[in-house]
Assembly symmetry: C2
Homo-oligomer: 141 residues x 2
DNA sequence: AATATAAATGCAAATCAGTCGCAATAAAAA
DNA sequence: TTTTTATTGCGACTGATTTGCATTTATATT
């Protein structure tokens, strides 16, 4: 796939190269899709947005290596698939409204407490909530 | 499948009936497998233990309805499949050692804090950890 | 105890997220 | 510009879970 004189976005290219990754068009399109999204995206959603530039296997490979490098975070909202978002400055978790589908970030975590409590060295954790948001509670009940 | 004069275990039968469920042999065998297990089981593990009495589809159907009724709890340790345990007296979460595979229950939860913080009515939540347990930390590093 | 009926089962086929092998391609290094 | 090596795109594949449907079984009823 021919990169259409893409002289913009040196930021992404540099970040990819810093991680030892080639800055390919498929990868750039995945990063862009995530950056332009207001909520974490699933691989299927990313594919819908970028199918002109890549295929499903490459998206999964990109997301895996991005997450390993800390470029993205993986989010498990018990939907039967994973979501991804650009790894922000601040560690956080999520809550999804089962009614309107909105996904909100929440600045709360108990990783350190659990490490202290259990003596484990925690490699990975997932703290995710599903419910009905205040707005939907108001309107439909 | 013929129930082999199973006059024991009226407790399970009663609990199933209370939930509006028929106390079938396949269901009883699934409950027994979970009761006899020291750790939460996956559908595949339950199948291995009960294949003489049921099949995969029925196990999945049982686990779903059990979880809906509150007979079992669903646990997502990011393993690519779900685990189930008999719903205990006390609400809790889990941590799995990536080295030895042990799954430990932890009595810590922030559901109420998150409800207070966000105003959501939380229907479902999942708070799960992966890491290396103190014992494995000692032995292998 | 025999019958009716609605729920649950077993089986095979389907679905769905995610992975893999491999030849072709493109980014980065030389 | 050429070489090197990572990455891609494709299709086939896996593993978990679901579904349709004809048959069986638990329970309520007589
Ligand atoms: Mn977020
Ligand atoms: Mn437990
Ligand atoms: Zn956290
Ligand atoms: Zn909890």
């Amino acid at each position: 796939m021919q990169i259409s004189r893409n002289k913009k976005l040196p930021g992404i290219n540099i970040k990819l190269n810093e991680c030892g990754l080639k800055a390919t068009l498929p990868r750039i399109k995945v990063v862009e899709a995530l950056q332009n999204s207001k909520k974490p995206l699933s691989a299927a959603e990313i594919y819908k947005l970028t199918k002109k530039y890549t295929d499903r296997a490459s998206i999964y490979r990109s997301l895996r290596v991005f997450t390993e490098c800390g470029i993205t975070d993986e989010i498990n909202l018990n939907e039967g698939f994973l979501r991804y978002e650009i790894s922000g400055k601040k560690h956080h978790h999520h809550i999804k409204c089962d009614n309107c589908g909105a996904i909100k970030c929440i600045d709360i975590c108990i990783k350190l407490d659990v490490e202290k409590l259990t003596g484990y060295r925690i490699n990975k954790h997932s703290i995710e909530f599903n419910g009905v948001c205040p707005n939907c509670l108001k309107n439909y009940s």
